[in-house]
Point group: D2
Chain length 331, copies 4
């Protein structure tokens, strides 16, 4: 069992709902084991610049329901410079940090791995990103909330689409994966879903999208038609795709880019629970000596996964839903 006296936590990369719940669980679990916790501000920048605060239970009172992150987040170009990782490690040593917990996505874990080459303490990751594109965990913190935020928008657009019997394209986030789009599209009853995983789509290649639209027009007459489009699925995004479709089928197609509202908001229950479990588990595993691991949850059980493999892309979007949507969804 590790003899931890002082650990640090930071949030890095795009913020995700539930990061605060995770910070709270880390602090409460550590406090119960008499471990001091400091929080670096602005991601790795706070580590490099030693901008931090010692966390106490009152700091995490009533934050479980808040979006964003009380520790702030940021990208950190300084860490990517040649001497960045060594400087980060030096800072950890100077502050007598026995272990560092990084809450973020795969990019943040790359940075963590780089620091490991210069640091003797323990390093552990917790997957916090709305995109769900991290291997070794079924869900990332923030994913469930992002689905419901997107869904709320889709339901509202459906109201208008229905009133006007129009075609709407809704572009959702997800970086290079379709987790959010598939989930929100299925849940929103979208007539079509377009994800990077479904292969490249280009202006010369729109027939696969146009055909089901025309089929639905024949079958149902004028009616609302919603297409969920994951970002990076088409050159120029949903706006360009809407223009191309309008031209091709002669019916006005409108694009709606959901944007940054997908990152914010009070986390839903599933994200607060996952964040609480993974935060608590990360501290417990540090005490067991774990390092260079990510704390994840697979099949409802907490588990460790090598930090260096979290970006391998072995996780897949739900094949059952993909198959069903492509066979049947277009009603």
């Amino acid at each position: 069992m590790s003899n931890l006296k002082r650990i640090a936590v930071l949030t890095s990369g795009g913020d995700a709902p539930g990061m605060n719940a995770c910070i709270r669980a880390i602090l409460l679990t550590a406090a119960a084991c008499n471990i001091e916790v400091i929080g670096f501000k602005h991601g790795f920048n706070g580590l490099l610049e030693q901008e931090y605060q010692t966390l106490h239970p009152q700091h995490v009172d009533n934050i479980i329901q808040r979006g964003g992150t009380i520790l702030k987040s940021a990208r950190c170009p300084a860490l990517e410079q040649a001497d960045g990782p060594a400087r980060a490690a030096a800072s950890l040593k100077e502050l007598n940090i026995d272990a560092l917990i990084v809450i973020g996505g795969d990019g943040s874990f790359r940075g963590t791995m780089a620091i490991s080459k210069h640091y003797d303490g323990q390093l552990i990751g917790v997957p916090g990103t709305i995109d769900n594109d991290v291997d070794g965990t079924d869900h990332t913190i923030g994913f469930a909330t992002a689905i419901d935020t997107a869904l709320d928008a889709i339901d509202k657009i459906r109201d208008t689409a229905d009133a006007f019997e129009r075609i709407f394209l809704v572009e959702l986030m997800g970086r290079h994966s379709g987790y959010i789009s598939l989930a929100a599209g299925i849940a929103g009853g979208a007539e079509q879903i377009i994800c990077p995983e479904f292969g490249p789509l280009s202006p010369d290649n729109l027939r696969a999208i146009i055909k089901p639209i025309q089929h639905a027009q024949l079958l149902k007459g004028k009616s609302s038609y919603l297409i969920v489009v994951a970002e990076h699925s088409y050159p120029g995004g949903a706006t360009a795709l809407a223009e191309a479709l309008t031209k091709a089928i002669g019916i006005e197609c409108r694009a709606c880019i959901l944007g940054h509202i997908q990152r914010g908001g009070s986390p839903v229950g599933a994200d607060r629970i996952l964040a609480t479990k993974l935060g608590a588990y990360a501290v417990e595993q540090l005490l067991q000596g774990a390092t260079l691991m990510m704390a994840g949850e697979v099949n409802g059980e907490t588990c460790l996964y090598p930090l260096e493999k979290t970006g391998d892309g072995t996780k897949q979007i739900d094949p059952f839903l993909v198959r069903w949507q492509q066979q049947i969804g277009s009603y």
Copy 2:
């Protein structure tokens, strides 16, 4: 007192949350007076093409909470053709309609006025638009919901803006008025609000916006900064403005265009109540013989307003809020 046997209702122009609540109130009030109600589909198109259904109480069961409109809506270019109004009037006569209620915005009321030249029956308007840009009523049906929808998005973007201490521009709807932007901006604690009413803004004229940003940076250091921008306030919209600001101040400014989600969603209480009052009042006033009037609410009291004056633009955005925001808001 009018001897009404059969009245018609239609929803026209952009849909607004609460239109269904209004249709329900019209039907229930008319039914209690033994007046038959038919609903035209797709706005004035349904009138011209005689696409309609007779409404019964069960049709309006459980619609008070629904966004969109069960009667569908649409723009109607056919009504704007030379013979459109006369054809619409002929259709009303052919169907033995004693009075027509039009739920929509100022544009829909222009169409109604045009029909009046060919029609002996009664015509009454009910203001249904999220934009609130209709004279003769303090609020239009849908406005309160649109504020809260925009606010929900602003709160979420604030989470991310705070986590990253970034500048975000949020573009809201409103056609050529700033009602939604002022209300949602004040309620969201926006550092700046940009409305058409505040005078023209152009690339050569950004100093008034930049100065308070720089003042805030000095005062508060890095911090989140939200600018609410009404559509049609800047050439190219919030996206172009964000680019211009990024260039001018050297800090990344991001734009978020809220778009059509502002039209949908379950209406908030205020809109359901207003819609219920105005729908009931419209039927009651038809029974009193009213015609060419809009049913509005001013200072909490229902009242009639000449349909031809609803677009005069005499209503103003709240001067108290404008003054306060410009003096103090930028903290």
Copy 3:
């Protein structure tokens, strides 16, 4: 013009969504006029016990969207003791407070009036209560949010009532007034609404309620039926009424007591705007020398109202809605 150097603010009585938005507006407005603001904690208790903090702009950052009150609230029995008001006045003098702003309901304003007999400084009230039972303002801070919270619950209960075609009684707050119940009942499409204003209801007097239920059963067959009941409308509340109705008509009636969730939650736009206006206006009027007044809003305009008259009960629930509901609502 008053020469204010230091003012104080406190929140008293039941908390209401928007109290924080009001504190923020007070602080920002005062700060712009170089007036120091201190906040007493726990209502008048903090004044009596000199538990307070000096407020700065960073304290009100990001609180506009929060329910509850950062200053805490409480009932204050100590103020009602014989020497309470004099001790409160002495505390104000000792702390060099030029003016005190009390955010609360009518009970809190009675306490404020009592203090005025011993205090030379200025005293101003801001109406903050979900119940809306304060004269001199069309709406109180928190009322709009409470309606939408109640409505959200009513919509959910409607889902179940519909699925089961059952009779549900939903008891809402409101102290001795029916503002919340009438508004939420109309907006929720309740088949019946029972308020204290409609006269006493007792076990011997249920026929007026039973008759429309039986009428609806005849007309519509089995169907969901919702009765909104304001607290204090029936001896024993909605639970006792449900039992009495079940017995009388032989159909199971279920009661749902909404309770304290009606006080919390992020304020809706209308409450944030009202709170911002009234907080700013209170400071501005203090500067103009106002005292023993409440800052209210009537017909969209800010205005002052004598603090001693805020509990006279001259304001009334909307007669239009009362009439309409009683004639027509029971469908």
Copy 4:
């Protein structure tokens, strides 16, 4: 492969958000296979009384987001009579139903098993109940939404509890299990959670609850304190427990019974997706010949589970969360 021509579906027992999404998936999947679907109304009552409708794609348009069930639900005492199951089977044969899908909880599956003794067709269950107390599936349809509904209430009560620094007890549904209470309690940051699974609690046995309250009072001084109480955890429920605690510790404890709002509301994404998967999977498995099975999801994969074992109570509430809450939660 089964040769299905006509299948039936019904919803039974307490309604759960997502039942409509499941009906939609069943219809769309069956329609794609040219199978006719009829829907019985009011649970097994509609089967016994042959009250049904043939479902078409337009019936399930825009129902994925609706709470309740378009087929209505009900308890069915008639099925529990000696000749009930045989009559139900006779009705299925008379209507030429090749297979019946029952969406409901364990009680509904007992009814289904009883029918199987008299019926040659296929019978399949889909777990729809907010309580999550069905073996053979990780989650039941409606559970995720019920958590978020409860959580929304807990967050609101926290606002008031915080403002007043009070002790609140929130009673949640769950029949005889603590799934909802544990999840909503953890996610709401409840200081204590009381579930049936934690063993019997009685008036003579309150010390285990009182001790952490007093510990927290010592540690944090006056502060809000929330106790989530699953129904059936204490004789007389949360109201009686609040009274007992008030007496025992001399601090006012207030109870809030959440009640039926937990059953309604628009389903969250997780429930819509689960409902879609299980509905589609049920039809696919019927085509494969499955009978007397429940369609569930375990570890993200659809799977069959014997209908007769769904009530064995082998599933458990999350031991990680139970342990963590009991060690650490009381901060």
